[in-house]
Amino acid sequence: MRLVYLFLALVAAALVAVAATVRLIDPVGWYYKPRVVEAALERPSEQCLVSERLIGERASPEFKAELVERRRARTIVAGTSVVLSLHAWPGERGFTNVGVRNTGVEALRPMFERVHATRREPLTVYVGVSPHWFNASWEAPNRPFGPRPLDQLDYLLARQNLQSSLNVLVSTSGSLVEGFERQQVGGRCVLARGPWVGDGEAETWAADGSSVTRWDLVSEVSRGPGDDFARDLVDYESTYYGDWTEFDRDRLAELERALTLAKSYGWNVVGFAPSFSRRYVERLSTAPGLRERWREYGELVPARFRRFGFSFLDLRDVREVPCADDEFDYGNDGWHTDRRCAMRVRHLLDRAAGAPAPGRPASTSIGRPSRKGPD
């Protein structure tokens, strides 16, 4: 048995060492780090962006919940990556974007509960409802708050995460194992670690919880050919819209449960359908099999909101906002509106919520230079 114990002890010791290294360095921001938020918000005159390498996808729900408390949020927007570009008006302090990438309708209730636990007062809540949430063949990769212990093992015991951790150690000469530094990227202060933000490889969070992408931050980063439609559509149909044979009633019921919760909290909710480029709209509204789901979405989802006395804006066609067909992020992908278009959406949402007019929707300080399209 001695050699059995030797084998097990060696394996266990090596795995513990790897897990400890990855946990300590946390190369992709899996774990929430309150100190980062402290640092980002400590100078009201210049609130820093936070690299997603410090607070990544998994940690972002905790981060967003913390922002709700610190910013004393009065208005929040929930949803998935397509709502992340919605941000605060200049000078507005009560807005927080609590959107979380790669989540589905199941993420709404946990986030609502967390927000309510923090801010027990009537809020204005914008909910971006993605059509693919109701495709039973698609499953959201993320569930906010508290990944399962086995998910943590997948993270802590991954070769690529060990490699990334060692890269952080090398690139920062070991000085920023647990820390971070203030970097200047595209004229903005960014809390980061390692060279990735400057190299245009990573996304960042603004202090209001919205996402500032590399295209917003680093002007040299190419926006892509401006027509990734064909490529993206293949991905899109094989993942988000693949095998969508019927509208998922269970998830519709889950949406109702989230709205019931919001109603019980006394929130003023405005639902909206995130925008797509004209070509996506044409494709999704006419493709056999999908067009029926597209039509059902337009009937069923707004009706659920109305049942609770909430408004719903169907903005699936970006021309309804109105925005131009090239006002999208991620290399102009046709389904993540950029920050400039997002604020036109925000204007419509504010109006639907009966919020006081904040003034004209304007390009924000970190938006790109004005491009064609309505302003």
Binding site: M1, L3, V4, L6, F7, L8, L10, V11, A14, L15, V18, L150, L153, D154, Y155, L157, A158, R159, Q160, L162
Partner: protein, 462 residues
Amino acid sequence: MLFNSFEFILVFLPLTLGAFLLLRRQQHRLLLVVGASYLFYAAEAWWFPALMVTTTTISFVCGRLIECAPSDRARRRTLAAGIVGVLALLGWFKYAGWLAGSVSSLLETITAPGLPALERLTSDILLPAGISFFTFEAISYMVDVYRRTIPAERNPLRYAYFISFFPHLIAGPIVRYGKLGPQLKRTYRLDPELLRSGLLLFAIGLAKKVLVADTIALQIDPLLEDPSGLGLIDSWLLMIGYALQIYFDFSGYSDMAVGMARMFGVELPWNFDRPYRAANPSDFWRRWHVTLSTWLRDYVYIPLGGNRRGPLRRDLNLLLTMGIGGLWHGAALTFVIWGLWHGMLLVAHHHLKRLPLRLGRPAAVALTFALVTIGWVFFRMPTLAEAGDVLAAMAGLNGLGTPLASLAAVLVVAGALAWGLPEEWRWRMETWGPRRVAGAAAVSVLALLSVNAAQKFLYFQF
């Protein structure tokens, strides 16, 4: 739950083994392993265990009835009923969708709109993992009882263990009751050497899967998505890559299964013996998926008459047996063709070996490997059209193509392992000292760190 997941390696296996070692009574141990195996199977889908219970019950009851039957005729009838019963389940879950689709397409081409209602009925049938394996095990048990090779098992728990034992449940090795039953009757005694060799074999199998097979898969899978642009060199490299991938994948799985079984005090049959060292097709099938090839020999080829009824009937039996073997792998024409290809190779070998032609062993090994690799085209490509594209490229009809340097480098390493070392179950790990054990631990750690990016075992689909 996959063998190559943390859920299995760090939770399920240690808990089950720990509890097994703590128990004192053999009956309790059997109960624990059967319970754990059903839990393991239910992790795939909650209703899968019901299917396994059905197959277990049919074959167990038929075994008893065959033994008690008053006449040969009654024995034969009971056996036939049992085989039809378990095959009906396999047929419905594995072949109904394919058959309905094929019939419907045929009707569609001839006359009218096909059979959409039948297609709809069968299109959503989910193939339960492992059903092909435990169905064959159940059949072998009933036939062995019928042949009086073994007595019928009277203890349902031991029989349930035979069908459900989780190390071999999903992808074999295909076990015979005659080998497993006696081991279950013995009271387990902790054997440190067996435990150690099981642990090491499991670790080496995991490494073969996640470090070798998955590394090759990462390189070849994207390129085989669209085979129409392949040329001579890249198509051969890709298919050699696939030949090595499926070997390391499946033999890695088998090593893990054999290793785990040893941890529970059970010796499972080995499945591979460096198959690409084979010098002819018959030799290949004595080294590749041996528990399947011997099953096909004992329960299909020999009952068909084997080689006892003349060369023509033997050739036909070989083709039929290998065609069935192909169909067993999957409900698709490509698998049948793969089986028939091997049947033809075996027939050709039987005829050619009588001629005064002799190749040197290296040339014979190379030729056998090339022929087996050509067969893998039908196994790997999802449609005949795509298989045709790859074969055309391998025949040089699409030009030379591009040499894939990084793939070639991986294949050199994988090839050296596949041809240079003896099969892992021959390594006599129970005699290893501290240095080798430490080396195996290092390899295990590397493998475990790749688990989160690991892919399913290829044979899980069968």
